[in-house]
């Protein structure tokens, strides 16, 4: 069964579809780092845990290269790993 790329959600945090990802690649945004910054995939609360692999797979198909050979900047750790309210980070004297 072929699914409509307009209806396939690649990034559930930011509601980005497969069609938008393919359009971006077609327009010359040919790395994960650029697509993230163009479409916000991976910028939501999950930090790319689901969408990143899906986007990399699209890029691998486009470049006809294995995922390990795609241009990418090493991932930086960007806490908190789960969304956490400000009140949880207040210094003790303020609590």
């Amino acid at each position: 069964m072929v699914m409509d790329p307009k209806k396939v959600i690649i990034c559930r945090c930011e509601d980005v579809t497969l069609e938008e990802v393919r359009e971006a690649i077609k327009n010359g945004y040919t790395s994960w780092d650029e697509i993230k910054r163009l479409l916000r995939v991976g910028m939501g609360p999950c930090g790319g845990k689901t969408c990143k692999m899906l986007v990399l797979r699209e890029l691998a198909a486009f470049h006809k290269k294995p995922i390990e050979k795609l241009p990418i900047r090493p991932t930086a750790v960007r806490p908190p790993l789960r969304s956490t309210p400000f009140r949880a980070f207040l210094k003790e004297e303020e609590l």
Partner: protein
């Protein structure tokens, strides 16, 4: 391959200048970026744009930059939604009488350049911005055309427009050396050993410029200073202005996307000149200091979720102003870097004026006081309104 101009660095400065040069038919242009467009200081910045500066020089530049931002969508054939242009103003809070008096002096300068900044009492702040906690505030200034633009999308939009005008943009292409012979620019060498030639090279690589300039025998006083910042989950619009304090250092704004973006300066800033030293690692002390400041001035934030923190580099200079213009020691070498925390907001106007300078057209705002030679001549440029 040879070009008329090679630009090193794909942040706002390099990409916008490439566009402005191409628009003025400056010839064949190659832009080289180490990773991807907006990857450095541009892409990690807080996205603020403001004309509330203190020196005539900066106010006149930012008055023009705001004008450019206001018409940028049309200029680059995108939409304001894409640029995430939001003019909800900057609300600058004063936490002492002396600070309030200083802000009021700056407002006089701003008015001379058509920047209609208002002076507000604490009661007026409470009435107009009911989310803001006025405890400890002596007054504030507010300019409604200040605000926000997305640095990533803005850079991408300049990049696409530059490409349409024939600029060649090569990403994932780190420059390792500037080639000089008989005190004149020859071109650049890339990490893979290839060489590209041009009689003019513009170095716009932010804090990375210093190490590159050294390969041409030029010692730029630009260093990287680590600044941390965070972003929250998106909310419906509840806060219009960027809320900032020069004395406490915080800046907090709700983006058009709905998330709140905010930062605070480092407690013990360290000067990094060598990219080997650059460290973008997260710091939990920032998270707790930021939470205390943010929930104090905007108490509703206590229940908002933080999604992510990151670090970027202010590209600092001794007088907190860009180094922009030709380098006298090497014929054909130009620099545009050192925005000292303001590189994104100044990007469009610096690119516009610099492109005129590079092709020998008269500038509308004279940038020559910002040339590298000011350090030799001891003519530093002073700006009182800096945050962080």
């Amino acid at each position: 391959m040879s070009y008329d101009i090679i630009i090193v660095g794909g942040g706002i400065q390099g990409v916008a200048t490439a566009y402005e040069l191409a628009k003025r038919k400056a010839g064949k242009i190659l832009l080289l970026e180490k990773t991807f467009l907006s990857a450095g200081s541009t892409g990690s910045c807080a996205a603020g744009i403001r004309a509330q500066f203190g020196s005539e020089f900066n106010v006149s530049l930012m008055a023009r930059s705001l004008q450019i931002f206001e018409h940028l969508a049309e200029e680059l054939d995108v939409t304001n939604d894409f640029l995430e242009l939001w003019q909800g103003g900057y609300l600058v809070l004063a936490y002492s009488q002396a600070e309030f008096d200083g802000l009021k002096e700056r407002v006089k300068v701003q008015h001379r350049f058509g920047i209609a900044t208002e002076v507000l009492s604490p009661e007026e702040v409470a009435y107009r911005f009911p989310r803001v906690n006025i405890e400890g505030i002596y007054g504030a200034t507010y300019h409604k055309r200040d605000g926000h633009a997305d640095p990533l999308h803005t850079t991408f939009a300049y990049g696409e427009a530059a490409r349409r005008l024939g600029v060649e943009i090569r990403q994932w292409s780190p420059v390792t050396r500037i080639l000089v012979e008989d005190d004149a620019i020859q071109g650049v060498e890339l990490a893979d050993g290839t060489k590209e030639y041009a009689p003019t090279v513009l170095l716009s690589a932010g804090a990375w410029s210093t190490a590159l300039a050294r390969t041409a025998g030029v010692d730029l006083p630009i260093w990287g200073e680590k600044h941390e910042i965070l972003i929250t989950e998106p909310w419906e619009r509840v806060l219009d202005p960027m809320v900032i304090s020069f004395s406490r250092g915080f800046y907090i704004q709700q983006r058009p996307h709905g998330s709140f973006i905010m930062g605070l300066p480092p407690v013990n800033p360290v000067k990094w000149y060598d990219p080997e030293e650059f460290d973008f690692g997260p710091n939990s002390d920032f998270l707790s200091r930021m939470s205390n400041e943010a929930t104090h001035v905007l108490p509703f934030l206590a229940q908002v979720n933080v999604v992510r923190q990151w670090a970027g580099l202010y590209e600092m200079t001794p007088d907190h102003h860009h180094i922009i213009g030709p380098v006298d020691e090497v014929r054909g070498l130009w620099v545009a870097a050192g925005g000292s925390g303001h590189g994104f907001m100044f990007g469009p106007v610096m690119a516009e004026q610099l492109s005129k300078w590079m092709i020998g057209e008269p500038m509308d705002i004279d940038l020559t006081p910002l040339a590298f030679r000011r350090f030799k001549e001891g003519k530093l440029v002073v700006e009182p309104a800096v945050v962080g």
